[in-house]
């Protein structure tokens, strides 16, 4: 197992590195072949007031007059050493600009995933064990409702009720605890719906397995059955779902940050798109890919550790269910 796991981890790590590099190259190429020349467009913008000589100087300094492959090489080696280039608009290092807004976004995204997890677990537990008259079965419909309401609508509702009506937070102070909390709720609700769907389906499946009945025949009460027997096997696939959800969280952060008036990566993207600040966009897209790949890598790496049945074959985990399948023979 030990050697097989290291082998598997090394292969997955290598795959992840390749994916990140390809994403970087892909974004770079797409930006390069776009019609028009955004760089000179931005620099020639009369508002900036650069002279032709200054423009030529900036172009030379940024290496923009070199052939595309050379530019790609320079940009990629910069990315790998942590140098993300310089903004065309503010002339500040891109890494500084991102570092400024990243903590706020990470706080929001992290809080949103936590909210989503708690909410999903509550829905799944309630749907399974709440008696009918307390709305147990009705909870099953909740995820579809959550999914069909866009998160900005939820955000606006939350601001209206808790911000304006109840006065729990001030809209002009978006970094306060309650403001962050409700932004996370708005962002987390659609995510929780998808986790809850997976969790409920898996709970139904696990609860119908023989071992659940056998455990009940051993005298276990419902809550113990849920937490000790059903929750772990049902949440294993959730690990994968959350990892896949990260992309959606990143995308929705943009909208939520706008709705709640927060400064974050979302607002930085929005500004860069409007002003065609290519180095910033390139850096953010590549970082987003990096985050996505790393989270999925972590999920893939911990999955075999969580599920004792998973047997590693090359770079792909495979689930075995019996000793006979594991060895082809009855094992001791």
């Amino acid at each position: 197992m030990q050697g097989a796991y290291l082998n598997y981890a090394a292969k997955r790590l290598l795959q992840a590195v390749v994916v990140v590099l390809l994403t970087y190259v892909f974004t770079f190429v797409v930006v390069s072949i776009l019609p028009g020349d955004p760089v000179t467009n931005v620099l020639r913008d009369p508002q900036n007031g650069f002279t032709e000589a200054e423009i030529a100087q900036i172009v030379a300094a940024q290496g923009l007059d070199k052939p595309i492959p050379v530019q790609l090489w320079n940009s990629l080696s910069g990315f790998l050493t942590g140098d993300l280039g310089v903004s065309l608009r503010s002339s500040r290092p891109v890494s500084d600009m991102i570092a400024e807004v990243l903590p706020s976004t990470l706080r929001l995204a992290g809080a949103a995933i936590a909210v989503a997890l708690v909410l999903a677990m509550a829905i799944a537990y309630g749907a399974r064990f709440l008696p009918h008259r307390y709305g147990g079965a009705a909870l099953r419909a909740l995820p579809s409702l959550f999914l069909s309401v866009p998160s900005f609508v939820i955000g606006l509702l939350l601001i209206h009720i808790f911000g304006f009506q109840l006065g729990l937070f001030m809209v002009i102070d978006p970094d306060s605890f309650w403001a962050t909390f409700f932004a996370a709720v708005a962002l987390g609700i659609p995510i929780s719906a998808q986790i809850a769907e997976v969790l409920m389906a898996n709970l139904d499946h696990e609860a119908s397995q023989d071992y659940a009945d056998v455990a009940r025949a051993r005298g276990l009460r419902q809550s113990r059955l849920f937490f000790r027997h059903l929750l772990k096997p049902s949440s294993l696939p959730v690990v994968t779902v959350i990892a896949l959800m990260v992309g959606e969280v990143l995308g929705n952060t943009l909208i939520t940050e706008t709705v709640f008036g927060r400064t974050g990566v979302g607002s930085l993207i929005q500004r860069s798109v409007v002003t065609q600040d290519l180095p910033v966009l390139q850096a953010i897209v590549s970082l987003a890919a990096l985050v996505f790949v790393v989270i999925n890598l972590i999920a893939d790496l911990i999955y075999p550790l969580l599920d004792p049945r998973v047997k590693l074959v090359g770079a792909a985990p495979r689930r075995v269910t019996t000793a006979d399948e594991l060895s082809g023979k009855v094992s001791a």
Partner: protein, 554 residues
């Protein structure tokens, strides 16, 4: 079956029990009594309601199931008890041993963690003593290395070991009643015997009453004091085992008795083609010579099939018998060309099979067909019967559409099914009908050889009788050659002409079936034959139920 002294109530008394799923009544007006220290078998085929009764006693019916009537445990009515008051009885007073040990333990928790739940039912506060009791119980049920079992996950143990664990967990809190729902139907015949021996011994040592649910009349006769025969949710017959077994009064019990191969040595043998002479004279249809196959598992190499040779003369049946893991399945996969042997040669109908390219294997498959053991999974549920049977003809582009339709009808008639079934889907068929469809699909190419991989093991005994009849009939009329894989030696004895006994990848003994079964030379063959439940004649007494030997672990 009356209570011992008329004053104390029987341990379990069921009166007028009916269970319904919605409008569907699956158990109707069932009543029985089980005294302290006694055993009772509920026997019947699938759909007879026997497992439903067991679940009603444990109050583990699915939410839509409704039980009415009376179930009294130690004189206390339990059906009307609120869940909160019934739960303490579960495990502590009523233990449960499930049917499929492979699925009865949580796969992502260790056996120890689940054993602690059972130990928590004891009034023992010291965790170290609880732990010691668990390990003691594991040793008591014949598990060799209790500590290792405690630390294992379920998938790391074999089915026989898991069933021992489950029995151990059930008896650990010292219940007065043990409900065992087909505790051995998922296990090999030799392991079945050891598990049943274990249950008999524990019952005597610990004075536990046993409610045994089984479909096997021989097991019921061998292991219980009283029998209740069920069909379609209704009691057909009830009484002391010896009486019911020796002289069944109801027609259904008589049929049940007559269809069990182990109890009726000539039931199927008379239908077998008397082609024993061909064993010596006919040219071999199948020749397997010195075949070896090795798999790499976790870096170790495992020889699944080791220098196996046998020949099957045309028109005869050759049986491969042995326990799980003995190499039967690998052997037939090699024979079918699904895997390639490392060394050795396989010839079917004069054509070499090994080392062939997949395209030329297709040609061989026209002469070589498979009937899989479980007709509930081997037929695509979205296809109609007609398409299922016609598929091989379509794949091999045989004949015009009209000829194909004719051959489908012919194959269907051969297995005794009516044409009105052609437009049905598998879900609308019974288990026996499905297996007939699977056989028809194998027949439609007019093959010479059919490989039968435990073709009746997923079916009820009366359905098995039916399918065996069809198979023997086809052999007699079409001159088919069968390779028959089975662990049911009583059936093999009546169905096959020659037999190979496999053990750990090797053929330990082979020859004409009478010779091998009447005068086995190998101890392993004798063990297999001794494990066949034989009804009253092999009933273990208190003295013969001694401590069983530790399970042989490979």
């Amino acid at each position: 079956m009356a209570s011992q002294d008329g004053l104390t109530p029987p341990l379990l008394r069921v009166d007028g029990l009916s269970v319904a799923y919605g409008p569907n009544e699956v158990v109707r007006d069932v009543g029985f009594e089980l005294g302290r220290g006694k055993s009772l078998a509920l026997i019947g085929e699938s759909g007879s309601g026997k497992s439903t009764i067991a679940r009603a006693v444990l109050r583990l019916l699915p939410p839509q199931g409704r039980a009415t009537g009376k179930i009294a445990f130690r004189g206390q009515e339990v059906l009307s008890l609120p869940e909160r008051r019934f739960r303490p009885l579960r495990g502590k007073a009523i233990g449960f041993v499930p049917q499929d040990p492979g699925n009865a333990l949580n796969p992502v928790r260790t056996i120890g963690a689940q054993a602690e739940e059972a130990a928590a039912l004891l009034d023992e506060r010291d965790p170290r003593i609880r732990r010691a009791l668990i390990l003691d119980t594991f040793a008591q049920v014949g598990l060799d290395n209790p500590q290792r079992v405690y630390d294992s996950y379920p998938h790391q143990l074999s089915g026989g070991m898991l069933q021992r664990v489950l029995i151990g967990l059930a008896v650990l809190p010292r219940p007065a009643l043990l409900v065992a729902d087909e505790p051995t139907s998922a296990l090999d015949v030799t392991i079945q015997k050891r598990i049943l021996d274990l249950l008999s011994r524990l019952r005597q040592d610990l004075d536990i009453s046993l409610l045994l649910i089984t479909h096997d009349l021989a097991i019921a006769a061998e292991r219980t004091d009283a029998i209740l025969v069920l069909k379609g949710g209704e009691v057909q017959e009830a009484g002391p085992t010896a009486a019911v077994f020796a002289a069944p009064a109801s027609a259904y019990a008589r049929k049940l008795h007559a269809d069990v191969p182990a109890l009726n040595p000539d039931r199927y043998a008379v239908l077998r083609d008397p082609g024993f002479a061909r064993l010596k004279t006919a040219a071999p249809k199948i020749e397997v010579a010195g075949v070896t196959k090795t798999f790499a598992v976790d870096g170790r190499s495992l020889t699944a099939v080791d220098n196996v040779s046998f020949a099957v003369p045309a028109g005869t049946t050759h049986a491969l018998v042995g326990e799980s893991g003995s190499g039967k399945t690998t052997t037939i996969r090699l024979l079918l060309g699904l895997d390639q042997p490392d060394t050795g040669g396989i010839t079917v109908a004069g054509a070499k099979l090994e080392g062939r390219a997949p395209t030329s294997l297709r040609e061989a498959w026209r002469h070589l067909q498979l009937v899989y053991q479980n007709p509930f999974t081997s037929l695509d549920p979205t296809w109609k019967v007609e398409s299922l049977i016609r598929e091989p003809l379509d794949r091999f582009r045989i004949g015009t559409p009209r000829e194909r339709a004719d051959r489908v009808r012919e194959a269907l008639a051969n297995v005794g099914l009516g044409e009105h079934l052609l437009s049905r889907k598998p879900s609308a068929l019974s288990g026996g009908q499905r297996q007939r469809v699977a056989i028809a699909r194998a027949l439609v190419l007019k093959p010479d050889v059919i490989v039968l991989d435990e073709p009746t093991s997923a079916l009820d005994v009366s359905v098995q009788a039916d399918i065996v009849g069809v198979l023997l009939d086809l052999q007699a009329t079409l001159g088919l050659t069968y390779v028959f894989v089975s662990h049911d030696l009583a059936l093999v004895r009546q169905l096959a002409h020659s037999v190979s006994v496999m053990h750990r990848g090797r053929i330990v003994e082979h020859g004409p079936v009478d010779e091998i079964f009447d005068r086995p030379r190998e101890a392993y063959t004798r063990t297999l034959l001794d494990a066949i439940p034989a009804g009253l004649s092999s009933r273990p007494t208190a003295r013969t139920v001694t401590r069983i030997a530790a399970e042989e672990l490979a």
